[in-house]
Symmetry: C2
Subunit: 293 residues, 2 copies
């Protein structure tokens, strides 16, 4: 199968590498806004480079897109020289960015008009998971389309979950993941702020709480970083804010209040706004906002 890959950022580049290394693509065509980056990678992994998303779609059976935000996805699919200009029944596209269900439904609709297929397949696991090929992939779309894409996804992900036949189901699941992860982080922050103020042995607290019914990935992985004041990004605050804004907009459109989501989004925004560059810190840096709440 001829595969195109658009968007070679911190996530896309290692994903494209793993795809190339698997050998499942008879040809691999790369495209990136900064063309030099695509050319350097193509030379290294033995791929071709295309000038535009349209040119990728003209040469590929499957096109993968992995770009930062909603306007980028819209540009790649719906913009000038975009994929939708050359949609046809033999084309199957999948967007793996986190952009919300509304955005991918619009794109799927535009592609469907030409007979092309679409699956939304956002991921979790970060750059480490992208490099290791152990991403969790949350896919929304027709079973047949997902099965056609499965060999491609398997080169990138350890866990592939089909979240529904409707396009957007993957996005919804990813945003649920972001809501839950953010509130778990609020839990860690409030617990550690309380423990710190009360003057208890913080290592003992980390051990005792993590072992039981209050345990979470966030507690075990981000709690110790908070205690060491290590704000290096596993996941950046700026990206978390983008994802939670998408979730909040969708929640509001559905008539949901979700007060915890609002609260934690506010804490992330306060952290970002406290100093230039704070949006680049890891999400665990939010504890400062909780301390000052």
């Amino acid at each position: 199968m001829r595969v195109g890959f658009i968007g070679l950022g911190l996530m896309g580049e290692p994903m494209a590498r793993n795809l190339a290394g698997s050998g499942i693509a008879s040809s691999l065509i790369l495209q990136n806004r900064t063309r030099a980056k695509a050319e350097a990678l193509a030379a290294e992994i033995g791929a071709m480079v295309a000038q535009t998303p349209r040119a990728v779609a003209e040469q590929a059976d499957v096109v993968i897109t992995m770009v930062p935000d909603v306007p980028d996805v819209e540009q790649v699919y719906l913009g000038k020289d975009g994929i939708c200009e050359v949609g046809h029944p033999g084309l199957l596209c999948t967007d793996m960015s986190t952009v919300g269900a509304d955005c991918v439904r619009r794109i799927a609709g535009a592609l469907a008009a030409s007979g092309a297929g679409f699956v939304d397949a956002p991921v979790s696991g970060g750059t480490i998971g992208a490099q290791a090929g152990t991403l969790s992939i949350m896919a929304g779309g027709l079973t047949g389309s997902l099965e056609a894409l499965r060999p491609v996804f398997q080169t990138m992900g350890g866990k592939i979950v089909h979240c529904g036949e409707a396009v957007g189901s993957g996005q919804t699941t990813k945003l649920v993941n972001q809501i839950v992860g953010a509130l778990n982080l609020e839990a860690v922050c409030e617990g550690l702020v309380y423990a710190g103020a009360a003057g208890v042995d913080i290592e003992a607290v980390l051990e005792a709480v993590g072992a039981g019914a209050a345990g979470s990935w966030a507690w075990s992985n981000l709690g110790p970083r908070m205690v060491r004041a290590d704000n290096a990004p596993g996941f950046k605050i700026a990206h978390q804010i983008k994802d939670l804004r998408l979730a909040l907009e969708a929640a509001e459109a559905m008539g949901l209040s979700l007060p915890g989501l609002r609260l934690v989004l506010g804490h992330f925004e306060q952290t970002r706004d406290a100093a230039i560059g704070n949006g680049e810190l890891g999400t665990q840096a939010m504890i400062a906002a909780v301390k000052n709440a």
Copy 2:
């Protein structure tokens, strides 16, 4: 060692059974507000019964107390015919209830005046953990006192963490546990309410989110119960409210705001107030309040 056990409720009774079964007590003296309950258990496990907490302390080297709330603990230690009336240097007491650090500091102070020792040792793990002898025990007090109590604790708990030399350290750790667990539950509720409104495959969401960086004990254990509308109590809302009120009072005394704790406490109280008997439901029933937020 002669051991006294005061408070034979849903937690205390199985704890006393495990203690009796271990054979580490040369004699075991039970006391309970409802005396008939103590007598029935004593006949079954081969223990004695005392009329008052004071009478227990007169016959024991170690006294364990496990009662519902602050006024009960105060009555048992500081009230008429209470333990403190007969404190002496050979007596070591441990309270395993969840009553907050202030309460146990007062009791430790009253006991210390007579030379008696005290360790606060609240637990997590619920009635299932109490029956299985797998409670997590969070202990605060002098290392020597904890080591003297360790054989007793080992009959009840799978994990014993020393949270600090200061009495109250166990209580603080337990309340951190309750704050974190409650906010993890808010996370589950908001995530599932969002997923439900968006109409995604809920089983796929449970699987995908639980496997990654948004995973938690609450998600994996209480999420499925919410989906099945199974509100049977693992931990009752009324008890959760009691614990979170203790945490909030202590937080306010320390000048902390902890807005997430306030939010989730409100959701539990709304659930309790929505119908008579709702305080007896499991904490997962809170999802109704989040849905209506």
